[in-house]
């Protein structure tokens, strides 16, 4: 096994405090190694010694057979030893592209003579992007997260294609709707998340402020929702009547006589009204607490 990095009897003394004392480590090519130890054990100091941010008090460090002891950090970095820091240190005032490009070695344009005398070597205005990137820094978890926000691409389609897409979207809505109902029922939040006409209106008003498309989308979703629920076998709704007709078709005679069926629907309608009333009352209480 080839030794990539050899740390030989390295010590570091900070004004009398022995941070690292006669440490020797050999790292082999192709292996992943970890360094663990309690706070103040000198782990960070060792990394600072290897990457040249601190000078060693004694000992030598070899990388790929060359002595890198005492080299400035940028030389060590150029040899291929990359490092991160304990906290994420991004260039927060620079773009994601600039952050990325700065990490690229051997940029011709970083030499002034190329900038002025060999401009052909310097790439300029070389940014072609079709995504909006929102960099966010999560300091508590120490993650420099880059959120990619897809930019909606609007394309013009002919009416036939539009119809096809509409059908597909409706199918997606239905799947989404049942999925949502199932999740809410499973989590026992079905009743508490019910909203009435006021909540629906409020939701539409909110989305209307974000744009025509969002508004139309939500309106279409509500439409699909109403259509689907109307088809559910609930008395007083079309679905309820349909259920009776279906039963009649199967049994070849009415399930109940017309008067009794009418009563079922009336009771169902009353219950629905009660639900509507209760839900609307709650809507108001939520909107105007």
């Amino acid at each position: 096994m080839e030794s990539l990095l050899i740390v030989e009897e390295v010590s570091k003394n900070f004004a009398g405090i022995q941070a690292v004392n006669g440490l020797s480590v050999t790292l082999e090519k192709g292996r992943i190694a970890g360094l663990i130890g309690p706070n103040g054990a000198g782990k960070t100091t060792l990394f600072n010694l290897i990457t040249g941010f601190h000078g060693v008090s004694s000992g030598r460090i070899y990388y790929q057979g060359t002595d890198i002891t005492g080299l400035p950090p940028y030389r060590i970095a150029r040899l291929g030893i990359a490092r991160s820091f304990q906290d994420v240190r991004l260039y927060t005032k620079m773009t994601v592209l600039e952050n990325a490009v700065l990490a690229q070695p051997k940029q011709a344009g970083e030499k002034l003579r190329n900038v002025y005398f060999r401009p052909g070597r310097v790439r300029r205005r070389d940014r072609e992007f079709t995504v909006t990137v929102t960099p966010r820094l999560d300091e508590t978890r120490g993650v420099g997260r880059i959120g990619f926000q897809p930019l909606p691409v609007l394309t013009r389609v002919n009416p036939l294609q539009a119809l096809g897409l509409g059908v597909r979207r409706t199918g997606e809505f239905i799947v989404l709707l049942f999925g949502a109902v199932r999740t809410l029922a499973r989590d026992g939040k079905f009743f508490e998340s019910l909203g009435g006409p006021v909540a629906a209106g409020n939701m539409l008003a909110q989305t209307a402020s974000t744009g025509v498309q969002a508004f139309l989308n939500v309106a279409a979703f509500l439409s699909v929702m109403i259509g689907i629920f109307n088809l559910l076998p609930i008395p007083a709704l079309d679905g309820g009547r349909l259920a009776f007709l279906l039963g009649e078709a199967v049994r070849r005679r009415p399930l109940l006589d017309a008067r009794k069926e009418g009563l079922v629907h009336t009771v169902g309608f009353a219950l629905l009204l009660l639900l509507l009333f209760g839900v609307t009352l709650r809507d108001f209480r939520r909107l105007f607490p």
């Binding site: 400035p72 990359a82 820091f85 240190r89 927060t92 700065l102 002034l112 900038v115 966010r136």
Partner: protein, 295 residues
């Protein structure tokens, strides 16, 4: 009146060159040096001495001034960059004072406190830039050249490294950039560009003395950059225009001469302090990203 406006234009252009070159240091790289008037002075003196004592043409003197100032700037940079932050201010302040004292005391060359009179107007191939209009045009050309030169630098990957150094020196080193080397280069470029302003100024006023290149002058150049907007080259032009016109505006308010000079200093100080408090990014702030709010 026309001649007076042209005079103001030449002055403004001088400060545009100084502001743009100084912005490179404090605006883009975050190097707080306070010795810019020294490079301005070195440019003026080198150009003047070569023209007066050796009869060199303007263009050659200008080139020599740039080279000497760049070398001097590098000379300041190498020891000064061993320290950073506040210490750099002090180290450069020392440099400023030393250069001023050289101008004052090297009498055989600089003429000492009496200065050097009779500087010839610039000549190009037998044609002399004499009239106020011609000089104004020359100053515009030089200011534009300095602006384009610096703009090209800050817009290049080299400029990107400068901003990276300003934001986080340690990380920039870890990414394999020779931070010290880049700083020395940017010091030299900045000093060299400032020297062109010195040359322009000396051949315009035809008389220079050390008091043109004092610490107060350095602070004035600092004000140009801070008021205009550090890290924004166009801002330095705005700052140069404002700070050249301000004393003229003060002149409209008729004050005794002795009072006016002091008042001007006070107003510069107040302006600088005011901007630091209320608009530290200057009139035209640098265009940078602001990190999205954490949610």
């Amino acid at each position: 009146m026309g001649a007076f406006l042209l005079h103001l234009l030449v002055l403004t252009n001088t400060y545009v060159i100084l502001g743009v070159s100084y912005n490179l240091l404090i605006g883009y790289t975050g190097l707080f040096s306070i010795a810019h008037a020294a490079f301005f002075g070195v440019g003026a003196y080198v150009s003047t001495v070569l023209a007066l004592k050796l009869g060199w043409p303007f263009v050659v003197g200008l080139a020599a001034a740039v080279l000497v100032a760049a070398a001097g700037s590098g000379l300041l940079a190498v020891p000064a960059l061993r320290v950073s932050g506040d210490y750099l201010v002090i180290a450069s302040l020392g440099f400023q004072v030393i250069i001023f004292n050289v101008f004052m005391n090297w009498e055989s060359i600089t003429g000492g406190p009496a200065g050097l009179p009779g500087i010839p107007r610039p000549g190009f191939l037998g044609w002399t830039v004499e009239s106020p209009l011609a000089y104004a045009v020359l100053s515009c050309v030089m200011a534009a050249a300095a602006y384009v030169f610096v703009r090209r630098l800050v817009g290049s990957p080299f400029g990107r490294v400068l901003r990276a150094i300003r934001e986080d020196e340690v990380v920039t080193q870890a990414l394999g950039k020779n931070v010290t080397g880049v700083k020395v280069v940017v010091f030299m470029v900045s000093g060299g560009v400032a020297a062109t302003a010195g040359s322009l100024f000396a051949h315009y006023t035809t008389y220079i003395n050390p008091y043109f290149f004092t610490l107060e002058e350095s602070i004035l150049i600092l004000s140009v950059v801070i008021v205009g907007g550090a890290g924004n080259l166009t801002g330095s032009i705005v700052g140069a225009v404002l700070l050249t016109l301000l004393p003229q505006a003060l002149r409209l308010v008729e004050l005794p001469e002795a009072l006016a000079a002091n008042l001007r200093q006070i107003i510069y100080a107040a302006l600088l302090a005011g901007f630091m408090f209320f608009r530290p990014e200057g009139i035209l702030p640098e265009r940078t990203l602001t990190l999205a709010e954490k949610d």
